[in-house]
Symmetry: C3
Subunit: 140 residues, 3 copies
């Protein structure tokens, strides 16, 4: 079965979607769920869901590694028409996954205890983000 | 169903394969297509298909982040037998995806409007690159 | 079909699991195998299985790019309760894949000649790592 999830974002952050996906899978059998973000300036991560500092540190690291285009070390960038956070967003979207596949047992994603699924927004302005999802059953 | 796509590359660049994959899926139903590059010095990216500067900037960023082995900051590399662009290619292949899974609705990949699928060549010399592909149907 | 693989790790390194996965798939038909590491401080990589210097250089690069939290350039990190190698492990787990999908032909993964599948341990202390696996058949 297929669906699409919609997430409203409001600036660079990790937006958890674990519950939304889990609810959609409820009642299914064994199989694999595939998620793919339908944008080139956002990512999908499986990350720690316990200490919020992990998400803060993750973003801090990637903002240092891929600073905005108005930073002197990013002078070489040409794609600047959509603002200083545009090309760095595409770069981050190349470094972090845009698609994830997760084994499902009896309708439950087989995630580790500390794993959550997140949409990672790389742009500053609010965006409506869409995630395409598919569940394939082992026993089909 | 399974297949293999072959792409001739001619130096570091993004080579679009969206049309090739779309054509292969034509006439299928709902499901998921999985692509995997069968090499350890190339990657698969879903990226913007509009402004060619995005691809140019992406490559420029990764060439700065992972310079060739003859760059002073890469002096620590040991694997040098196949040339200065060899080990950096393996590193880039660890940072960018080698496999992608994409939901398919009625034989059409559910990509966003600006998303294209690219083989990313990390080596300088021309190469014949192979992508393994599988389509799994939801309704099977 | 579903399973879980368990790998004992003993410090940062690449631990090959190709043979374990291949053995589990033996006798199956065409399809896709999906692997997902059930942790947020380890990754899954498809990488070169020939020269051990490739693995050594990969780790050396990522240790320079994401040094431990006691390195001066990582002073901005806040999540430090589990030791200086904890938050850098989460960052590496965001840069390298946590899930892989690999086409399978007649029960054999369609990997390239030089490709091996590795669990990448990012933490210093020994850990028991679990990989969730699912095989979906094309002909189901």
């Amino acid at each position: 079965m297929l669906t699409e999830f919609t997430i409203q974002t409001d600036g660079p952050a990790l937006y958890e979607v674990t519950g939304t996906v889990a609810q959609w899978l409820h009642g299914q059998d064994d199989g694999v769920v595939t998620l793919m973000v339908r944008h080139t300036s956002a990512s999908l991560l499986i990350q720690e869901n316990a200490d919020p500092d992990v998400q803060r540190d993750l973003r801090a690291f990637f903002e240092r590694l891929v600073p905005d285009a108005d930073d002197p070390q990013m002078r070489f960038l040409r794609h600047r028409s959509e603002g200083p956070d545009d090309m760095p967003a595409h770069i981050k979207a190349a470094m972090m996954p845009v698609s994830l596949s997760i084994p499902v047992a009896s309708g439950k994603m087989h995630l580790g205890m500390w794993q959550g699924i997140y949409l990672v927004e790389h742009r500053r302005a609010p965006h409506t983000r869409r995630i395409a999802a598919a569940f394939l059953s082992c026993s089909a």
